[in-house]
Symmetry: C2
Subunit: 393 residues, 2 copies
């Protein structure tokens, strides 16, 4: 039975499967074991917080994808995937976190039963949810299989977004705009940081314009002052201070599609140093955006960005962006290309990325970042949040 | 410089290190590469959402733990760990998600530089954040090392909680009590599910009694009706319905310490079938709790629980609990013992677990679950939320 709330039409799932099979042929694999939860969802509709146990979607040379996971989660698969119930396989609960046996023994039996014990099998070797032990178990159980590293093979097929995917990302963009408006509205000196984060979460999940909010693949990052010299600290109950910058790296999410956007908040006029950094970032971003168009390379954006930034006296030694879309924790990036030197990925209409020109200075950080869509001729910001530093009071 | 908000005293970190080194000796490894974010935090104080890139804490035969990760996250380590800055190592940003090189090449150089190229090195082989590719890279770069599977070695040292850890879990328990009170207070037929989840999140992060809420390692699971036949579905914007059960599996979190607790909500009197299931679960839980005491095995709890449940006409074919405490996404379980047949882990005072007697029936689910502490003589529920079905109106 096809779930009534399947996020995409059957034709779209079918087209995705065709694209993936073509890519499999290119790397020479007959069968693909997909363990990245975002790839699993993109291929089948599966949606559930079950990626803390071993699970996979298997793409064979023909036929529908197979869903495989813990028996109790097979019930969740039956509620969310488009395939028939005989394409859903559950393993017994004693395989869960048991040092004496590994769930991949069960997957190996399934692969054998499908006639794939001697197949060329693709694996997502550097995916979070494909552990060293999972790999060792497969290699031991299926000694005649030929293993192919198919890491991020499916991710690459996700790089160009369909019209429905772009619609979902636009909804996510409206949600993150509202989250930043909530910050500007609620934040006050003396307010405990976690109280503000509670309000941000409320705005994220309530959604806007009748579109509900889903959970983000990264929780709000919201360091203040010296803590903002580091990019990935979360929150505590310290009070917001006048004279201290806080950056908010957050995302709106609609049906697992992400629109991340960051802003940096000051109470009162920021120090001149921050205004200088702001101007440099804005000018460098504008230079980068001019290069964000079909036919250019990913590095064209970062090279233009970095050249301008350096000319203005600042330096950033990390990538300044990465693709975004459908994702599950722990990351909202798609792990394909990066906006950095030597990345020659050709930009195409429908690609989406997080332009991430964050500067972490010696005494704080400044993040003014945007979700961006490559259009037929150039690039478009998905959000209308006022750019620049966020100044209150 | 020791961070002012380090969650535990230096003596506690020192005792943890001693315990881990003793366990390393037992499995015969000189060096341990710790990639589980909860283990990294427990050993060093490190706290940041950076586990989406490769990182580790390394325990050598002597000296402080070493923190290793992406250069930008080394700044976060300097803000959160107790070790001196020369124990913190950052790798260059071009290693991030780059098919041409792997961060473990950098870790291999660090291990060599420490004189450990020929050491017996323990690895957390089945940890989410230790991928197949990470393992293959280490094996290739350090051909003379001897690799030891040290999966969940550190997790086991975390099983018995210290007084401060128990204090943190009691605070988390108060937070989850308040989250369930919020559900009872706010939920109404016709309310959109995501609006209720927004309120739950707000209560989770705002915290109670002056103790702030941290993010949970699993987002709220809140399926209704037929969707509640599956355990791990999240939410959408469907309206809550009279005559339909919704279960809420949620956790309060204080400084990464979790108190998970579930309740099942009905508007109006539940059907007789659910009252029968409720009575069976309550009686089976009581039987299990009688076995929850120092000296007993983990399986004594589940055997008593299952025997009672079966006698009353119900069956549960999955484990009925697992240890809890410090954790990071995607799981709040500790991955050591399970409450299931044949698990002969000896219970000790200070152990904490989620007693998880969920039943997924043919037309819905019932979850009434508790965080539990093993005391000197028996066991204690950490929460005072009224037990049984949650009935409103």
């Amino acid at each position: 039975m096809i779930p009534s709330n399947l996020p995409f039409g059957l034709d779209e799932y079918s087209a995705r499967l065709t694209k993936v099979r073509a890519a499999m042929q290119q790397v020479g694999c007959d069968v693909l074991v997909v363990t990245d939860p975002a790839n699993m969802a993109w291929l089948t509709g599966y949606d559930g917080w079950s990626f803390y146990v071993h699970q996979a979607v298997i793409i064979g040379p023909s036929g529908p994808p197979l869903w495989w996971g813990r028996a109790m989660d097979a019930l969740g698969a039956l509620r969310t995937v488009y395939m028939p119930s005989d394409a859903v396989f559950g393993y017994e609960d004693t395989f869960v976190q048991n040092p004496d046996k590994h769930p991949m023994e069960d997957l190996s039996r399934l692969l054998s039963a499908q006639g794939w014990a001697n197949a060329r099998i693709g694996l997502e070797m550097d995916n979070y949810y494909f552990t060293a032990a999972a790999y060792m178990s497969l290699v031991q159980e299926l000694p005649s299989a030929i293993w192919v590293n198919a890491n991020v093979l499916v991710n690459w097929q996700r790089a160009v977004k369909s019209p429905t995917e772009i619609t979902y990302m636009r909804r996510a963009a409206k949600i993150v705009e509202n989250m930043h408006a909530t910050i500007l509205n609620r934040a006050e000196p003396g307010m405990k940081k976690n109280e503000l984060i509670a309000d941000i979460y409320h705005a994220a999940i309530a959604g806007v314009d009748g579109h509900w909010g889903d959970y983000p693949s990264i929780v709000p990052l919201a360091p203040s002052g010296k803590d903002a010299t580091a990019p990935h600290l979360t929150w505590d109950d310290n009070e917001l201070q006048a004279g201290e910058a806080t950056f908010f790296e957050i995302a709106g999410v609609y049906r697992r599609y992400h629109a991340p956007q960051s802003r940096t908040l000051f109470f009162g006029e920021p120090p001149a140093k921050y205004r200088t950094a702001e101007a440099a970032v804005m000018e460098a971003v504008a230079a980068g955006m001019e290069q964000a168009k079909p036919g250019n390379f990913a590095e064209d954006i970062s090279n233009a960005f970095n050249a301008t930034l350096n000319r203005l006296g600042f330096e950033k030694d990390s990538r300044c962006g990465y693709p975004i879309g459908l994702s599950y924790p722990p990351d909202w990036g798609e792990h394909t290309f990066s906006l950095r030197r030597d990345d020659r990925t050709v930009l195409e209409p429908g690609m989406t990325f997080h332009f991430m020109p964050a500067l972490w200075l010696d005494d704080g950080g400044i993040e003014i970042t945007e979700p961006v869509l490559i259009t037929e001729t150039s690039a478009e910001y998905l959000c209308t949040t006022p750019r620049g530093l966020m100044v209150k009071g």
